[in-house]
């Protein structure tokens, strides 16, 4: 199939977005939409700008980012280590398999109130919650990657006389990199989700707290303003991870199977 023209794609996309916000703005201005519940794009922008000027948005965004990043890093490191530990020991893999599956299948969002109870209203409970969400993701991805490493590829290098350490560094780690990166990529989104939900449940700072408390006061425009900030943050983080991924996986062929 012929690839669609770039200009057409961008123009159509822009049209859709502008049309959506235009309709929203017009609806609110003409009174078809109740501004109390639905807010109004122009007012959202104004409120967002006000938060930027006062610096408030940065304070709260930083709190959320800190919580998410701490949870992410802890979860990523421990997830990878756990996967290696289990892959190295068939005995413990057998022992722990049903326990891990059970822990995984509990909807962990439901545990958020417990974490707040245990770790307080501050940063710690959000970090722990983010950590729990990221841990499983990275663990499962890394573990699956380790199981998929081609034994014949490892054997070929082993016969050359590679030590265990060399096999790890030169074969196994590069081989699982795509898997780990896939886990980290979804982990970034998960860690933010963890921080936000943690703040909803009980907190006194952060974008999640901001959204939750504004919604309680029917400050709909403030809710959307905080969402704008959150959206910008996610886009920035995804860019970062995407760049990392392209760098690490530049050797990979592009298989766009569906295009």
């Amino acid at each position: 199939m012929k690839p669609p023209a770039r200009a057409a794609v961008i123009l159509t996309r822009l049209g859709l977005v502008l049309g959506f916000f235009g309709l929203w703005e017009a609806g609110a201005a003409l009174g078809w939409l109740d501004a109390l519940f639905f807010g109004r794009p122009s007012a959202v922008l104004a409120d967002f700008w006000g938060l930027v000027i006062s610096g408030q948005v940065f304070i709260h965004a930083w709190v959320t980012l800190e919580e998410a990043l701490a949870g992410f890093l802890l979860g990523a490191v421990l997830g990878v280590l756990m996967a290696f530990a289990l892959a190295a020991s068939p005995f413990w893999e057998k022992v722990l398999d049903p326990i891990i599956m059970l822990a995984y299948s509990i909807p962990r969002i439901a545990l958020a109130p417990l974490f707040v109870l245990w770790f307080g209203l501050g940063v710690a409970s959000k970090v722990v919650f983010s950590f729990m969400l990221v841990l499983f993701l990275v663990f499962f991805n890394t573990f699956a990657g380790l199981k998929e490493v081609d034994r014949r590829m490892v054997d070929a290098v082993r016969v050359m006389g590679a030590s265990r350490r060399q096999l790890l560094v030169k074969v196994i780690l590069p081989a699982i990199t795509p898997w780990v990166l896939a886990g980290l990529k979804s982990g970034v989104a998960m860690s933010l989700l963890g921080a936000i939900v943690g703040e909803y449940v009980g907190g006194n700072a952060g974008l999640g707290w901001m959204i939750n408390s504004a919604a309680g006061l029917f400050q709909t425009n403030r809710v959307f303003a905080a969402l704008v900030a959150l959206g910008l943050m996610v886009v920035g983080l995804n860019q970062l991870v995407g760049r990392l991924e392209r760098r690490a996986l530049k050797w990979r062929p592009n298989n766009n199977l569906l295009s």
Partner: protein, 260 residues
């Protein structure tokens, strides 16, 4: 010099039954000799090569080779199977140089030596390509030079060219013989292709049906250099081919008759 003494291998199959793949393999291969192993499919050729390489422990017998790191240590042999085991994240030179890298040679030097070998097998101009950017034949050539780069004493090849089309296979066979002539390594070459076995080797060993033992050996007294085209039309070649084929078919037929 490699000596196999009474090599036997018995597997425990998934259903709990025992599968005896090898029984009492005795074989001595002298320095610089090129030996082909042929035998019915499933008789235990891959098992035998993996045992020689040290990737499997035999349930009986032993392998001796006069090289450093006797028994259990790796690094004395080069090994190549039918599988594509190049590292997809390394370009041609980094793939070819990995054996040297493992020995502590600096990366720049690894790449320099790899580049010399790459040029020898027609990979010049592809030094910085990744494996997925190469044709099947080029990947096999890269596999060959990766195996030779660290100068192992013995080359163990398990149907390395089986997945290639006939023309490419012939080119690769010639590449291998050229490299073997220059490097003078001991080669053990497994194949199910009798033409290939005879064209390449000094000696062809026929394995019996499972459990495999060496059934017969044939000296290939054809002058070198042999180009496959010329040699395969010679009287001597055809007589030898027929003789081995007859013996091989006897094993295959027996296997068929007793398997159903």
């Amino acid at each position: 010099m490699i000596r196999l003494e009474g090599i036997g291998q018995t597997f425990l199959a998934a259903d709990g039954s025992q599968v005896q793949a090898l029984a009492g393999i005795d074989l001595a291969v002298s320095e610089g000799e090129f030996v082909s192993l042929v035998g019915p499919s499933g008789c235990g050729k891959t098992t035998l090569v993996e045992i020689i390489a040290g990737l499997q422990k035999p349930s009986a017998g032993r392998v001796t080779h006069g090289h450093a790191g006797q028994n259990g240590a790796f690094g004395w042999a080069g090994y190549m199977s039918q599988a594509d085991t190049l590292l997809p994240w390394r370009d041609v030179l980094d793939n070819a140089g990995i054996g040297l890298e493992i020995r502590g040679v600096a990366r720049a030097e690894c790449r320099r030596r790899a580049a010399e070998l790459a040029a020898r097998v027609g990979l010049a101009g592809f030094e910085n390509r990744y494996p997925h950017e190469l044709s099947g034949g080029m990947r096999k050539r890269l596999g060959l030079i990766r195996m030779l780069a660290y100068e192992p004493e013995v080359l163990l090849l398990d149907e390395p060219f089986a997945a290639l089309d006939a023309q490419t296979r012939e080119v690769l066979q010639n590449d291998l013989v050229d490299l073997w002539r220059d490097f003078r390594r001991t080669v053990i070459f497994v194949t199910h292709d009798l033409m290939e076995a005879i064209t390449l080797a000094d000696r062809v060993c026929l394995l019996s049906r499972r459990p495999a033992a060496i059934k017969r050996e044939y000296r290939v007294e054809l002058p070198r250099p042999r180009t496959s085209l010329e040699v395969q039309f010679s009287q001597k070649f055809q007589a030898l081919h027929q003789a081995i084929r007859r013996d091989l078919m006897a094993e295959v037929d027996w296997q068929k008759a007793h398997q159903a």
